[in-house]
Symmetry: C2
Subunit: 208 residues, 2 copies
């Protein structure tokens, strides 16, 4: 049995959706970041980075969304969530996820978590001002070719779709109208309607 630590409004959603889609046997534990539960001594023993997601497996604790997504794809191969035996196609999957974690997520984080990279509030304000432009630029690349359609990698759903859905959910708060990117908007609608994912979407307050 896996134990999965998450918080709403975070990138943990991607891993949560993958676990659910794959039919994993897991227990989900929600942390309340408004109460700084991710910084409790108990949680720091699980994940010293004080972040979510974290997945407790029988072999140890795993973190970092791209790593967790590939782990789920590899340990639940019947779910066919990644082209495990096609190195080029798998590299496309990892390339997409790596772009989301190192560029898109980071761009978004400059809106509310500027304190990570500067101490003074005027710098935080400057960062906030640029978030909409950056997220728009990143999603222009995604719309322009990275998202093949209807799913990210084409006809079949993959771990990339859970991650893109997670990140595209931040656009509105970041000041970007998702309708500027019709393929991304349609992708979002399609995943929101997926029957396998309703329970997790409800746990993250994305559907009622």
């Amino acid at each position: 049995m896996l134990t999965f630590y998450y918080a709403t409004g975070t990138c943990a959603l991607a891993t949560h959706l993958a676990l659910e889609y794959a039919g994993a046997n897991y227990q989900a534990v929600r942390l309340d970041m408004s109460k700084k539960e991710q910084q409790s001594p108990e949680y720091l023993r699980i994940n010293p980075k004080a972040r979510v997601p974290a997945l407790v497996t029988e072999q140890g604790v795993l973190t970092e969304t791209p790593a967790l997504l590939l782990y789920i794809a590899q340990t639940f191969p019947q779910a066919r969530l990644a082209p495990l035996d096609d190195p080029f196609a798998l590299a496309r999957v990892n390339e997409f996820n790596s772009y989301l974690c190192s560029t898109v997520h980071v761009g978004h984080a400059h809106r509310g978590r500027g304190y990570r990279w500067a101490d003074d509030e005027s710098a935080h304000e400057s960062m906030k001002k640029k978030v909409a432009q950056n997220m728009g630029d990143y999603f222009a690349l995604i719309e322009g070719g990275m998202l093949k359609g209807p799913w990210v990698m084409g006809d079949a759903i993959s771990i990339c779709d859970f991650y893109l859905f997670t990140v595209s959910g931040w656009l509105a708060g970041d000041g970007v109208d998702i309708q500027t990117f019709p393929k991304v908007a349609l992708h979002r609608e399609r995943l929101l309607a997926h029957p396998k994912l309703q329970k997790v979407l409800a746990a993250h307050q994305l559907v009622s």
Copy 2:
């Protein structure tokens, strides 16, 4: 034949080392970022992100360091650069690489590339001031357990080692004394002396 685009002083070093170690048949093309060659129309057709690294394969162009590293490990399995058939061990590899790309590289980039996340120079100055502290915090985690020793994953060299070496090379410029982290410093010395890697290290002006 692969074509590999890189620039000195960038994270492309990690992929370059992996290609060389794996014995790949590749042509390396150096871009001069001081001349903004990464923004030339020719290069933008190869990589619209205007970044390095980029690897041109017979199937298409691949980017993003963690994706390239795993691609090389998977296409040159005889080099044994990743535990491809052990999902947990592979997740540890991907977790490490993901941390480097989304946290450590990003932290470092706030020293010289603050313009990515804010438009005014006072914000860039604020970001620069925090880089040494952040890089020190990140490397404390690496020293404290992520780097098992002597190589990142233990006794065997892996793609993680090329990436850690790349990033630990930025510490001095970021205002962090690598000797604060003895395991990281020793790891750096060990890789610098690796006979298979001297040609690439010289191409990046890291050995004479």
